[in-house]
Symmetry: C2
Subunit: 245 residues, 2 copies
């Protein structure tokens, strides 16, 4: 929490992003949204901060004093085992919400993947605000419900899908979450490393690399660069993701 550059600003970017904040689903429209007056009120509570790659938003075990709204870039959320094994539980993008905890401490860590910005709220102030603002609370409930549904889908992936199915699912889901997608839907931006993809999918970097190579060789995808690819055969990829091949 100390290596972050905090700039108090009007938090303007959040506004555009807020409509689908915390949304783990494909259908952004169903997310709870707030009107401009409510967002103005929220702005007075927030600090805008700029994050460099690797900067820490939240550390597992630290007191849960803040909540965040990601306004640009991307963030990894993860849990660790004592021996260092890491499970990334989610990637967050502009509009996503972070930091709800049930106890006094965070049960997860969160770090910026690329240069990113976020709005930071003090937990107490935010909680009071939520209490006095039913619309905000409803939006929050909607987001958390979305996240829970996404988490259940990820459990299915981790518990029952093969490596090939996991990576196909990942490539299909990622663009829906990332509002930064530069062009058409078949274009996938991968701001994260292979190690992060592996830790998200419960695989090793070698397996991720091998499966991507196989997809490339079989013409399902085309690698534009290390961090960008195009889905050449979406139907086939969807079939693979659902275990129909």
């Amino acid at each position: 929490m100390f290596d972050i550059n905090v700039l108090p600003t009007d938090c303007a970017q959040k506004r555009a992003a807020n409509a689908c904040s915390g949304c783990g689903a494909r259908e952004h429209s169903v997310c709870g949204a707030l009107d401009d007056r409510q967002l103005d009120r929220l702005d007075t509570l927030a600090d805008q901060m700029t994050l460099q790659p690797g900067d820490v938003l939240v550390r597992q075990g630290d007191p849960a004093n803040h909540l965040f709204n990601i306004t640009s870039g991307s963030v990894r959320v993860y849990r660790l085992l004592p021996d260092g094994r890491r499970q990334i539980t989610g990637f967050l993008f502009a509009g996503d919400f972070l930091g709800l905890a049930t106890g006094d401490t965070y049960a997860f860590s969160a770090e910026a993947i690329e240069t990113s910005t976020a709005c930071r709220f003090r937990r107490n102030e935010y909680r009071d605000e939520v209490r006095n603002n039913p619309a905000l609370e409803a939006a929050l409930l909607d987001r958390v419900t979305h996240d829970l549904a996404a988490a259940q889908a990820q459990m299915l992936l981790l518990g029952r899908k093969t490596a090939q199915e996991r990576i196909a699912s990942f490539l299909l889901d990622l663009p829906a979450h990332d509002p930064c997608r530069p062009g058409p839907a078949d274009h996938v931006r991968l701001p994260m490393t292979r190690a992060e993809i592996a830790d998200y999918l419960g695989l090793t970097i070698e397996t991720v690399s091998r499966v991507l190579t196989r997809f490339k060789t079989s013409g399902v995808i085309r690698l534009l660069s290390l961090n960008e690819l195009r889905i050449e055969d979406p139907a086939r990829l969807r079939a693979i993701a659902e275990g129909e091949i």
Copy 2:
């Protein structure tokens, strides 16, 4: 939804259970609770229903018309892949909450494991009630946040733990969720079959059976019956669960 015996009653059992409803964490005390007046108000909206083993509360893909509060027994919540692979995303016990969905249809199925009871609410009525009752909404948000934290812990388990670690974690966590535990904390009731444990932990029944046998042989647990066991060496089991052995 058709094979369920619905009995409109005052839904009294829910009251005792409600204090920790939906709670996926060890610390039941942090869960949002409602006072008696609020519960009375809720009772007027609910049908009490009795479920036999295998009875369906919710079917994946069906319109999301209801919400449930489990009042006794146990329920499995799961997702399926087209070829029948199943991932159980959670076991619910008395006091747990079920049925929040973001879209118009359920993204999961839920069935009774043993003879159980539940309170059923019409989604629209419940939503209106929530809108007019901030305390209820806050309690709901708290529960869903708990569930989300539990889901993240389960992702770590499914993505990064070995079979042995998964089963140790499962045996340690289960009693905290099950208010029916008959006696001391080292006593574990297993209302579910080996197949359900396997589908919850991302393993096969054979692996579950083998690991339980190994734990038994090494003296960490003692099998009292097929569906009941005692943890003989909790410290050792905790060490196994965290990968320290």
